[in-house]
């Protein structure tokens, strides 16, 4: 069974980077993506993150569901922007090139379309890197890297354990769903939405209880093996910083610097093709 959104062990140089490097990369990349509206920078980021995605040998089905959900919300977001502020682009770029008047205040302008195109790009540059971070970082290494960056290890470890239990919970979910379907809870597409939502509660209830049971067992097991004994702990899976990590960080620093220079060269976050 393909597991969605969980770490999958593959041998690529992205997988071999230390967790801290990937974490720093992800954070810096997201910040740049959030700050800049410069189309040239965004396009570069989109191209680059697609390449990274390719290199990491991540398969589409590993992330398909999440992509669909994000795509759905992205669409809603873009429509909402248009309805709530149809002239956002005009005020950003300072010109107004009307394309088609719809009704009331709603006119499609070149500026608005270009603005929303940039918003979409921002999503598309950050998402692949976020997904990549999740599927290429070993959860324990992730915890270790959080710890290195100053987060308390108990917090990092809880996150790691949660990630680590995703496959188990998915398995539980499937089994419970099958058992409940046998009792007549119809979860297939034939059933109406109301029925399916009601059916979902018949699955969630046992799922939550069996998960709580699991948590109880594992937390005692961890306590018995000395988890939380000291303020610090070491990590078996911690990777030492290697040359490739240093290269990645150097690249990141250069990229951040250049993208900021490019973005703010004209004193605005926006790249203005209309001027």
């Amino acid at each position: 069974m393909a597991q969605m959104m969980t770490y999958s062990s593959k041998d690529t140089w992205i997988h071999r980077l230390s967790g801290s490097t990937k974490m720093i990369f992800f954070v810096a990349w997201s910040i740049v993506g959030m700050v800049t509206y410069d189309t040239r920078v965004l396009l570069f980021m989109l191209a680059f993150s697609s390449i990274l995605f390719r290199i990491s040998k991540t398969e589409y089905r590993q992330v398909a569901t999440v992509l669909k959900v994000i795509g759905f919300f992205l669409t809603i977001n873009l429509i909402a922007i248009f309805f709530f502020s149809p002239d956002q682009g005009v005020s950003v770029y300072g010109t107004r090139t009307e394309l088609w008047h719809w009704f009331g205040p709603y006119t499609f302008t070149r500026e608005q379309l270009f603005y929303e195109f940039n918003v979409m790009l921002k999503y598309l540059t950050v998402i692949p890197v976020a997904l990549l971070f999740i599927v290429t970082t070993n959860p324990s290494e992730f915890a270790a890297s959080l710890n290195k960056l100053g987060v308390k290890y108990s917090i990092g470890y809880s996150i790691a354990i949660a990630l680590r239990y995703i496959p188990d919970v998915q398995k539980d979910f499937r089994e419970i769903k099958q058992a409940q379907e046998a009792r007549g809870i119809d979860m297939s597409k034939n059933a109406g939405l109301g029925k399916r939502i009601k059916g979902m509660t018949a699955i969630m209830f046992p799922l939550i209880f069996s998960s709580l049971e699991r948590i109880d067992v594992v937390s005692h097991a961890m306590e018995l093996r000395g988890f939380g004994k000291h303020k610090k702990r070491t990590w078996y899976s911690a990777r030492p910083f290697e040359k490739s990590d240093i290269l990645a960080i150097l690249f990141l620093a250069a990229f951040t610097l250049i993208s900021m220079l490019v973005t703010f060269a004209d004193g605005s976050r926006f790249y203005n093709p209309f001027a």
Partner: protein, 569 residues
Amino acid sequence: MKTPLVEFRDYSFKYRTQTEPTLKTINLTLYKGEKVLIVGPSGSGKSTLASCLNGLVPHSYAGEQSGSLLIHGKTNEKLSVFDLSSFVGTVLQDPDGQFVGLTVAEDIAFALENDCVAPAVMKEKVAESAALVGVGHLLERSPQALSGGQKQRVALAGVLTSPLDLLLFDEPLANLDPATGNYAMELIDDIHRKTQATLVIIEHRLEDVLRRQVDRIIVVHDGCIAADSTPDELLATSVLTEIGIREPLYLTALKYAGCEPTRQDHLASLHLIPLERHRENLLQWFFAQQARSKEKDRNVILEAEDISFSYRDQEEVLSMVSFHVQQGEMLSIVGKNGAGKSTLSKLICGFEKPTNGWIRYQGEDLAPESIKQRAEKIGMVMQNPNQMISKAMVFDEVALGLQARGIPAEETKRRVEETLRICGLYPYRNWPISALSFGQKKRVTIASILVLNPRILILDEPTAGQDFRHYTEIMEFLKRINQEHGVTILMITHDMHLMLEYADRTLVLSDGRLIADAAPAEVLTDQAIIEAASLKVTSLYELAVRSAIPDPIAFVDRFIAYDKEVRRQ
């Protein structure tokens, strides 16, 4: 000579949530290097006793204690769970639930990480303790992907990374098939020899533990110590049967035959019992018994023909399996973990579709029927009741399946109440499920399936983790719905007693193939099948062979029939 390691003196403990103390004025000393077995029925306090040793009581499970408990001469109030963890190692019952690492190596390293051991030293120590239990070649694997026996080894390696004074095993055999259980006991023995640590094993599968020598057995009953003696002495008394723990089957057989075994008989190890002394009695008993009457052939209710299954482009989990089930039969399906037992039941219920072959119910192909439709003919009860229960009240839980089918309220009420009566749950119909015992919860889940009136019931490990009394209770209940209501029952199990005592027939799976379809007594005496399916020869058969009974298989068969009769009374 003997140095005490743990001393309970007039020790009592009461959980905060309970009104009665769970342990009552316990006086017990465990010595260095000893190998001790603690037995007792469910709820006797044996697990609490174990929790006292690793500090979960009183530090994690709050409650009141009185008297004193000294470990290494220090009172337990001053020893935190962490202090104790540096010299008491605990291997919990369900290894699956306690793995925290993504790989075997990481899991073994967990305690070391918490002790801030430097990575380089850690790698060495992990390799060392992995080698000690023979999992050195599995270090990069995911613990979840291992077999039951390997999982246990990994769990054990995880506590062996620090030098221990006391090693505590909580029901080490609970999730293992019989043969793997045997290896586990061997391993425990081996570790005991290598580490010289005090060993405490909590287990109710007494016969399996006694395959290896233990120094002392402590019997816990109702919060008190009911017996504390050597195995040979204990087995010569009737303490075990009185408190509802199953003694080894060979011993029961000797008693039935009127052999009056004594402590001089070395009752703890079958191969040491001087059987010449008892042979006469055994033979007499054997010839006095009637053979069990063969069941007549009945109508075939379920038929599988050449079924195979694989998850997309992976290896076949089942290949070309064919069998039939007769109306009103009680059938067991056995085989080691991963042999295809669960897959088979999923195919029958329609959760998965076979990649080849047919399954027919009363002559009709089941393939076009949905899961929901099949459920009215074939019901599936999962191992863990918590995976099925989705309502707060007993009545609602049992009514769920009928309500989902849009059955009118009147009829639902009538059918639910009728089912609850059959299951002995009618008095509890308005109870919250959370207030029920495990056995009662299990019955609620069975009731919630039975209410749909299926003609076949499939149960996954119906008695896993149950003591003898609950085991008998659940199995007699199943027997009753089988006989009085004609429900055909398929049981997936590791428990050889269960299949010997309750199954009319056994299907044995090994690596996805059906390798035997025969009476349990035949299966459990056939060396080739036993090895392939990771089963174990029943000690009854060994007893019969060693006492030169002319037909050992018939001896096993007659014992089972006789034993059932005795227990029914």
